[in-house]
């Protein structure tokens, strides 16, 4: 861990964050808005990577955790008029509870079976939103009366700050002894258990941390958009984007996941002129990365550094 502060990765990340922080001084509000969403997405992807890359749990439903946080915050604000900050905190807490519920099957079943349970969780949440339309706004979406701020620059800094802090915590956690135990229990639960580590406790912790950051980010995103809808925070397609971001950026690197998310969202925007083919091109690029650089962007960069 101490080595990290002198490593090249640390200086590169620091430089990137400083450059990113000065962006509002010379780029348009449009670019800032795009990056704001990308940063929140980066947190989704990092939280997912903690669960998959380290705890070894294939969570096909990152949007279950995101959606619970986002909708809890949104509903409390829109229907009960509670203050924005309270709603955000409660959204994150609700997401932690959702994470615990999701962790229950994970401790019983493994691999594809767990993956499916998480997918079903998303579909259930989606059905719930549609069925209880009075409360949730249904398929049209929920309009949120309050926002944190309408200043594009301030929103951008909040998102950047949030992503940087989350990245520091999640990365620190992944490199800590707890992260190593988590990685061991993900790769070989029997052996890790035989070494005397409490796997259940570690995995539960991973679920709680992942859910907390997913929910918090989801709640913040809702107050940035001013609306909560199935298409933006719950849909399986959103979850697919989160997973693709993490795999693209390099799984088991945490920081790579954020890079992948930013790339995915910015690339999607650049390809907008190609119209309907944009998603096709992004998917094709992602597939090529998966096939030829399975380590992802950061994985490829780090292994080259390690070799030289």
């Amino acid at each position: 861990m101490a080595g990290f502060f002198t490593s090249r990765l640390f200086f590169v990340s620091l430089a990137l964050v400083i450059i990113a922080a000065t962006l509002p001084l010379y780029v348009s509000g449009y670019v800032l808005g795009l990056l704001t969403v990308a940063f929140y997405f980066g947190v989704f992807a990092m939280a997912w990577d903690l669960l998959f890359g380290f705890a070894g749990e294939v969570n096909f439903g990152p949007t279950f955790l995101i959606g619970v946080g986002a909708y809890t915050a949104g509903i409390l604000n829109a229907q009960f008029g509670w203050s924005v900050y309270l709603c955000i905190v409660l959204g994150a807490l609700a997401s932690v509870i959702a994470g615990l519920v999701l962790a229950l099957p994970a401790l019983r079943v493994r691999g594809p079976y767990f993956g499916l349970t998480t997918l079903v969780a998303v579909l259930m949440l989606q059905n719930f939103v549609v069925v209880f339309a009075d409360l949730t706004g249904g398929e049209i979406g929920l309009t949120i009366p309050d926002v944190i701020t309408i200043n594009a620059g301030a929103n951008y800094w909040i998102a950047l700050g949030f992503m940087t802090i989350s990245a520091a915590i999640l990365y620190g956690l992944s490199q800590s002894p707890v992260g190593l135990v988590l990685q061991a229990s993900g790769q070989d639960p029997v052996q890790a258990g035989a070494l005397g580590f409490n796997i259940v406790k570690h995995k539960l912790a991973a679920f709680i941390v992942s859910a907390f950051f997913s929910g918090l980010s989801g709640a913040l995103l809702v107050f940035y958009f001013g609306t909560a809808s199935v298409g933006t925070v719950v849909d399986v397609a959103v979850g697919v984007n989160v997973i693709v971001s993490a795999v693209l950026g390099g799984r088991r690197t945490v920081l790579g996941a954020a890079l992948g998310a930013i790339f995915l969202i910015v690339a999607g925007e650049f390809l907008r002129p190609t119209g309907e083919l944009a998603t096709f091109i992004v998917s094709a690029v992602a597939l090529l990365v998966v096939l030829f650089f399975p380590g992802g962007f950061l994985g490829a960069a780090l292994s080259r550094e390690a070799r030289s």
Partner: protein, 291 residues
Amino acid sequence: MRAFQILIDGFAISALYALGATGFTLIFGVSGVLNLSHGAIMVAAAVAAWAAASILGVGTYAGALIGVAVALITAFATYFAVVKPIQDSRRIPNEEKEIFVLTGTLLWGIMIQELIAYFFTNNAKTVLPIVEGVVEILGVRTPSNEIFTAIVCCLVIALLWLLVNRTRTGKAVLAASMNPRGVTLLGLELTHIYIVVWAIYGILAGIAGVLLGMFLGVSSYSVGPLTASAFSIVVLGGLGSVSGSLIAAFVVGYLETLTAYLVSPAYRTIPALLLLVFVMYIRPQGLLGRR
């Protein structure tokens, strides 16, 4: 009257689900691959059949054949361009191949979906049915097409059963699903078996897709729900167990039909999802699955 209607409609939709899920579970059983581009392959088959029959005007039979052929080609493309490279890759650790196959086939499915949307728009397409008209069974007016769908599904599944249990190739496939290493020790090439399985899969998915296109119609939006329903049926029945999938398909099919008729079509999928969660907690390996 209504009971008969539910019985008949439920049978047709269940048989279709069964056909769609059988190929999916076969591939998993033999090669451990969960193909998330399944829905895309089915939709590709239906859209090809629709385009051949409605735009090129080759007739319903030729259209259906073209649809199945397109599914077969897409299935092979999936195997050779996505699944095989990942399985053969040395840079991907073995324990992570599963997630890479899932991600890879998912992306591949999205690519197919987007191409279909680009060339043929997102509009729903109904393939011209091979059989037209309406017949009355037990007092229920039923489209002949629905009966045709049910019969074809049952026939194809019966043929598959014969193929797997009565032919040499089929027995090799069955053996590979039980013990892949044992099969290679007997001098059979696993890759050949995989190709046979993907061919069977392509044909099954193609037939299911074309029939679905005739029965309910498809659009590029059906890709996700189709994959999800095949996935849940297969898990409910037990991954890799063909008979388990057949039972699960009928359970899900009838549950959906019952809900749609008795409660509301809007809640159609909810009871099946609840059942799935319930089964996962009680019996994580599914109805007939082995651990």
